[in-house]
């Protein structure tokens, strides 16, 4: 019968907590940068010329139809042959931003398309500038509409970020790998790590629900 040995795992629990913090930092940074990419691409896809639309569509389809693991291998191992050498941590961040950008673009585009034309026309009639219309009339209600899908995509991004440990970037899964090779208590280490990821996703869901309550207090038009 196998004897569980959790003592070495909890002895180095601070290492794991640091790893969890790195995962939080990495995914938050990736989400913020990815959101910027998404908004720019969504704008390009709805309002840009056809060449830009084609490029953005190709980006979205390629990213959404290939595994994240292959994307990160391509960025970390493949790009140096084009002269772009990245540290594991920057490669991880870049891969996550590129990945989140593709999913985020589709989500935000759906939000933008949910805005009725009359709203924009009303903005023009009121003499708002193009940027003001985009910022206040399109983006604000669009983000509100797609907020639930954006947050679940973020949780998915955080879970996916565990894959960056394979190129030895720093995160929770990598902290687990280090501890595993130091203690050989593989199952014990990974069950604790898995529970920490579960706690992170439950925690983030709660935070997002609280933000939703605070940020979207103003009443809906309908």
């Amino acid at each position: 019968m196998y004897e569980f040995n959790f003592a070495p795992v909890f002895a180095s629990f601070d290492q794991l907590l640091l790893g969890a913090w790195l995962t939080i930092r990495l995914s938050c940074a990736a989400m913020l940068l990815g959101l910027i990419v998404s908004i720019i691409c969504a704008w390009g896809k709805t309002a840009g010329p056809s060449l830009i639309r084609f490029v953005i569509n190709a980006y979205i389809e390629i990213i959404r139809n290939t595994p994240f693991l292959v994307q990160i291998f391509f960025i970390f191992f493949g790009l140096p042959s084009l002269g772009l050498r990245l540290s594991p941590n920057s490669a991880a961040l870049l891969a996550l931003v590129v990945n989140f950008g593709a999913y985020g673009t589709e989500i935000i585009r759906a939000g933008i398309e949910s805005i009725q034309k009359g709203q924009v026309e009303a903005g023009i009639a009121l003499g708002l500038s193009k940027l003001q219309i985009f910022r206040y009339i399109i983006m604000k209600p669009a983000l509100r509409t797609v907020y639930p899908s954006l947050t679940s995509q973020f949780i998915y991004l955080m879970l996916t970020s565990s894959v960056v440990s394979v190129i030895s970037a720093d995160d929770l899964a990598a902290a687990g790998n280090d501890l595993q090779s130091a203690t050989f208590a593989s199952f014990e280490v990974y069950i604790v790590i898995t529970l920490m990821y579960l706690a992170l996703s439950i925690g983030f869901s709660a935070v997002f629900a609280a933000i939703e309550k605070m940020a979207f207090k103003y009443p809906l038009s309908r």
Partner: protein, 218 residues
Amino acid sequence: MIRPFGWNEFLIIVMAAQWTIALSAIAFAGGGIGGLLIALARVSEVRPLRLAALGFIRVFQGTPLLMQLFLVFFGMNIFGLAINPWIAATMALTLHASAFLGEIWRGCIEAVPSGQREAATALGLKYYNRMRYIVLPQAARIAVAPTVGFLVQLVKGTSLAAIIGFTELTRQGQIINNATFSPFMVFGTVAAIYFILCWPLSLLARRMELKFSRATQR
């Protein structure tokens, strides 16, 4: 010794796609059975069953697939089984697919108007016949598009089996890359093969979704 990336290396990578397809197919079949059970448990009238299914879904949707693979891989040792990447990868992906399909199909079952179920009950149909002939056939129509969409996610997910040493497309790419050291070509090829596998499924899912929403609008 470094050898160039030539036609042979390309073919070796292409051939490895069969293991990706096999792994996806097995996980999809297993996940289909598991997912149906989870979905039925999730809409069941027995509260503990509903809660157990909910917990299963929450755990598998709230943890990384990579960790699920590791846990099954190292967990086999605890149950006294020899560590085998094939079995570990299939088991982990089957459980993963069961949770996701279970949640997708729960939504589809709940989307069937409750009057259908009530009418079936009024006609004297018991649980099995009610589900088999009334509810599930209607839910299945709604389920097709999101299920194909999930299949894309599953095919991409099989790439993580490479990390526990299962030689499918991604792992074969790594092996060839170690021998040829032309990562740009190797991972470009690997990505292209995944794209060829997944893109038609994505397009199909989108088309069916469009067709379905048009059909239900009328």
